[in-house]
């Protein structure tokens, strides 16, 4: 059986079950609020959001692979394009673009053209250090780790903090070889 052709983010999003984005937005808001109450420190909340995103990423990657029919990406460039064009679209219904590649092709920016997490949101004075959308960076990091790519994902621009866009920097730290050695003692 020939492998099924990869599907576009639009086609997948159109074919999957969807929910009102407001339910998603408000539920995410409730999570952030719980963390602020539980952890008190904004830095701790940033860390926890990233961790929660990571936990989601290591699970969500399989759905991405199952629904998109994507086979192994040739390189990190293709991977980044997949995240932006297929990943963001099929899960959040938004488009993202990849830009600002560095010379050796291991670091780029993903720019969100829309961001359903932040509807209704304004950071109060007490939360100015909060990376409200930090869950997204965790998701990307977790998902890529499951396909053998160690990355570092950080926010470069955040409109809630007064910037003019939502920009994530994704940096490839290490690509674990796919054929890891099978030894008796492992």
């Amino acid at each position: 059986m020939p492998p099924a052709a990869p599907r576009s983010g639009e086609a997948i999003f159109a074919s999957v079950e969807r929910v009102n984005a407001e339910l998603f937005t408000l539920t995410y808001g409730a999570i952030v609020r719980q963390l602020l109450t539980d952890l008190e420190e904004v830095d701790e909340v940033n860390k926890q959001l990233d961790q929660m995103g990571y936990n989601i990423g290591i699970r969500l990657i399989d759905e991405f692979l199952a629904k998109s029919n994507v086979s192994r990406c040739v390189d990190f460039k293709e991977t980044a394009e997949m995240i932006a064009k297929v990943g963001f679209k099929m899960f959040l219904g938004v488009t993202a673009s990849v830009m600002n590649w560095d010379a050796d092709g291991t670091c780029c920016s993903i720019l969100l053209e829309d961001n359903p997490l932040v509807d209704f949101v304004e950071l109060p004075d007490t939360c100015q250090g909060l990376y409200y959308c930090n869950i997204l960076s965790g998701v990307i990091r977790g998902a890529l780790e499951m396909v053998a790519m160690k990355t570092e994902v950080t926010w470069i621009r955040d409109m809630l903090r007064g910037d003019d866009a939502y920009e994530l920097q994704v940096k490839l730290l290490k690509q674990v070889p796919e054929e890891y050695p099978y030894k008796d003692d492992e």
């Binding site: 999003f13 999957v16 079950e17 969807r18 929910v19 009102n20 984005a21 407001e22 339910l23 998603f24 408000l26 539920t27 995410y28 808001g29 409730a30 999570i31 609020r33 719980q34 963390l35 539980d38 926890q48 929660m52 936990n55 989601i56 699970r59 969500l60 759905e63 099929m90 899960f91 959040l92 219904g93 830009m99 600002n100 720019l111 969100l112 053209e113 829309d114 961001n115 359903p116 509807d119 209704f120 949101v121 304004e122 869950i135 621009r157 409109m159 003019d164 866009a165 939502y166 920009e167």
Partner: protein, 194 residues
């Protein structure tokens, strides 16, 4: 041009027009987020009833906001002041917006005057969730119960709201009932209003 996203920037969020609520995300995105909400809260509690309480609190925060949002958008800044009105608002308007459908049924409790039940064959939040046997009667619908309580409470109808599995004859899976028990003051007020 680099960096110019499509999102328009507003100096003040209040200037941003309120969305029409037509935007969607995949059910999967919500399911993964909800699953993580449950997992995080599991790390914060000692027992199942605390877990339910925390999920309910999270839901309450959603409900309070949903009430405001929908009263403004769907009802021209008016809200229901009568018991049956607010119940039908929850069962129809709130359910439709949040879960994409009207709830399967709204019934008055047969044994107690102050109890009402909203039932659903399969609650959206439960779609992918199997409760382990050792968790007894635990129900992730506590989150939805919290949403309902948040709507009711902020509309001036304080109530105790809980989620339960109810076995259905001939069905493999139980349905869910959201049980609403109104505070005494609510019923007294209703009686006065006649």
């Amino acid at each position: 041009m680099i960096g110019a996203g499509k999102i328009k920037q507003y100096a003040n969020i209040l200037e941003k027009p309120l969305g029409k609520g037509k935007q969607e995300v995949s059910l999967s995105a919500f399911a993964f987020l909800f699953s993580e909400l449950v997992q995080y809260n599991q790390t914060q509690v000692d027992n199942i009833s605390e877990l339910e309480t925390r999920l309910e609190d999270a839901g309450y925060a959603v409900g309070a906001r949903v009430l405001e949002l929908l009263c403004h958008r769907e009802k021209g800044n008016r809200r229901e002041t009568r018991l049956l009105g607010i119940l039908s608002f929850v069962h129809s308007t709130v359910w439709k917006v949040l879960f994409g459908k009207v709830a399967d049924s709204l019934e008055k409790g047969t044994e107690h005057e102050d109890e009402y039940m909203i039932s659903e064959k399969e609650l959206l939040v439960n779609k992918f969730i199997s409760i382990p046997k050792d968790m007894g009667t635990f129900h992730c619908g506590a989150f939805v119960a919290g949403i309902v309580r948040g709507v009711l409470d902020n509309a001036g109808f304080p109530a105790v709201v809980t989620a339960h599995f109810v076995p259905v004859e001939g069905q493999q899976r139980p349905r869910t009932t959201i049980l609403i028990k109104f505070a005494e003051e609510v019923l007294q007020r209703e009686a006065r209003l006649g």
